[in-house]
Every structure is written in structure tokens, then in C-alpha cells.
């Protein structure tokens, strides 16, 4: 666990390139209803090969933003069928890896999740999957650029013990990857040791904090 104070305030913006600004605006603004909140029209400067570009932003709630770069006269960097505007993948790359990178946007409840499902299902980008994970339920689609977008709601509030568990997992992971041939089995064995070392003391400390309030 860290002793450093935690000053950041969420996502300012996450930025992606696009070769399809019309599709991108249609998807985010017109289908999902995310307002356009900022744009920059810039003449290419600095490196000589930098094209002129538009950098445009959509509000994804909580004052957080998703942003895109459209570069005039710049052609797609790959022609592979799998992947997205940023990167393409050949048949040697497994699907789980291709689908691993994604942006998940938070909604608060089932009504909101189903409202976005309705908006997507009546568009050219219908929901591809709706999945109940461990503690969240999510819908997924790919945007016009091929980026995997998830919209997710919590199934219940996060409990304090899940923070402990996450920290034990990460400490176990760091120990296991510091040794040769890390495996899931080795991680579970190391984590068991950390549970024995720390879990009881964590609960006592929490009970002490509660009594002290």
C-alpha cells in the first residue's frame, strides 16, 4: 500500500487516432449522446512530417472526456482486418489479446445501462455482448474506429476487503514475476502466505478504527 497522498481526480481525457471522423462523431455524439465539449484545430508544427489536425473531445460524464485526433491527408497505418485504427493484428495474435485493450465507461444502474443498450441496438453499432462479470455488468461494442468500448454498472458497492485482497494479489504478483517461470499456481501459493500474514491483522485494525470513531 502507498503512503503517498492521492491527489489526482480521474480521467482528464483518453485520446485515440481516427481515420473516420464522421463515423466517430455520429457514434459518440448522435448515437450515444455524448456532447462535443472541446476541439483544437491545429496547423501541423514541430516535426516537418506532422500533418494538420483536429483534436476533438466528447464528454463521457464526470467531466471526463474521450478525445480523437484526425490528421488531414494521413492514411491508415495498416490494412489488417483485425484490430483498430491504431494497430492491426495478424492471425498469429490470439483474440483474447486483441480484445484486451478497451475503454470502460461507468453508469450507475440498470436503467442507464439498458438505455445505452437501446441507443446502440438501434444504431449501426449494436451491442455485441452483455456480460455479468464478478461485481459489474457490462455491454460492449466496437466504435467506428474498431476500438472496443464497454459501458459498465456496479452490481453492488465495493467492499473494503476487496481493497485488501487487491493489494495482496499485487504483492503476490510482484513476488512471483520476480522469479523465473511465473504461474497462476505460484501466485495463489504466495497469496495464501500473505493472507496468513496479514488478513487477521487487517481485520483487527479495521475493527479498531471503527471502535475509535
Amino acid at each position: 500500500m502507498t503512503e503517498l497522498d492521492h491527489r489526482v481526480k480521474g480521467v482528464d481525457h483518453a485520446a485515440f487516432p481516427t481515420f473516420d471522423p464522421a463515423g466517430t462523431v455520429h457514434f459518440y455524439r448522435d448515437v450515444l449522446g455524448f456532447p462535443v465539449v472541446h476541439s483544437i484545430c491545429a496547423v501541423g508544427w514541430g516535426p516537418e512530417d506532422h500533418p494538420d489536425f483536429i483534436h476533438f473531445f466528447f464528454d463521457i460524464g464526470n467531466d471526463d472526456r474521450i478525445a480523437f485526433f484526425y490528421y488531414f491527408g494521413f492514411e491508415p497505418v495498416h490494412s489488417r482486418e483485425r484490430g483498430d485504427a491504431y494497430a492491426g493484428f495478424g492471425p498469429e495474435v490470439p483474440e483474447f489479446f486483441v480484445r484486451s485493450r478497451h475503454l470502460a465507461i461507468h453508469v450507475e444502474n440498470t436503467d442507464d445501462l439498458l438505455e445505452y443498450r437501446r441507443r446502440l441496438d438501434s444504431s449501426a453499432w449494436p451491442v455485441e455482448m452483455q456480460i455479468k462479470h464478478e461485481t459489474i455488468e457490462s455491454i460492449y461494442t466496437h466504435d467506428p474506429n474498431g476500438y472496443l468500448i464497454e459501458i459498465t454498472m456496479p452490481l453492488r458497492p465495493v467492499t473494503p476487503q476487496e481493497d485488501l485482497d487487491a493489494n495482496l494479489t499485487i504483492d503476490a504478483l510482484l513476488d512471483v514475476v520476480a522469479e523465473p517461470d511465473p504461474t497462476f499456481g505460484k501466485l495463489l501459493a504466495r497469496k495464501a502466505e500473505l493472507i496468513v500474514d496479514r488478513a487477521a491483522a487487517w481485520e483487527l485494525a479495521r475493527a479498531g478504527q471503527a471502535a475509535g470513531r
Binding site: 495482496l168 497469496k191 500473505l194 493472507i195 481485520e203
Partner: protein
């Protein structure tokens, strides 16, 4: 001795409950974890727990070094002495 740990969160409660009903299996606690122990193998039937797959496949918090998972699939979780 066989020992595995499962975090006590609502999704995992049925797993601990089913384990406690298995003959020879003891479910204790260490902090916020269920400590599931037996002198021999521990076998937990997934369908009896009612856990959906995402919960089932991420439920194990730790497995003691003297134990090992020999089955963790859609049917069951089986842990034996190593």
C-alpha cells in the same frame, strides 16, 4: 492437510456454504477470508454453489503451499494435498 482461502464477499458466500456441508471439510476464518481446510481432498460442486462462471473462476484467493488445485472447471473445484 489441504487449505484454500476464499474472500468473504457476497458472491463467494454460497461457495463457502457448500464447502461447509462437505464431509470432512471445515470452514473457518482468517480476517475477511474463509479458510477452507480438510485432511484430504476438498471437492466443491459448482452447480451446488449456483455461482455464475465469472464468479466461479475467480473465487480462489489463495492455496497453501502444501495443497494444489487439480480441477477448476465448470463442474467442480478440487484441491488436494500437494
Amino acid at each position: 492437510m489441504t487449505t484454500l482461502y476464499v474472500l468473504d464477499v457476497p458472491e463467494n458466500t454460497p461457495l463457502a456454504k457448500v464447502a461447509a456441508e462437505v464431509s470432512g471439510v471445515t470452514v473457518g476464518r482468517i480476517g475477511p477470508y474463509f479458510e477452507i481446510t480438510a485432511s484430504g481432498a476438498i471437492m466443491i460442486d459448482r452447480r451446488a454453489t449456483g455461482c455464475r462462471h465469472a464468479v466461479w473462476y475467480s473465487a480462489v484467493g489463495g492455496v497453501a503451499r502444501d495443497s494444489r488445485i487439480i480441477q477448476h472447471d465448470k463442474d467442480a473445484l478440487r484441491v488436494e494435498p500437494a
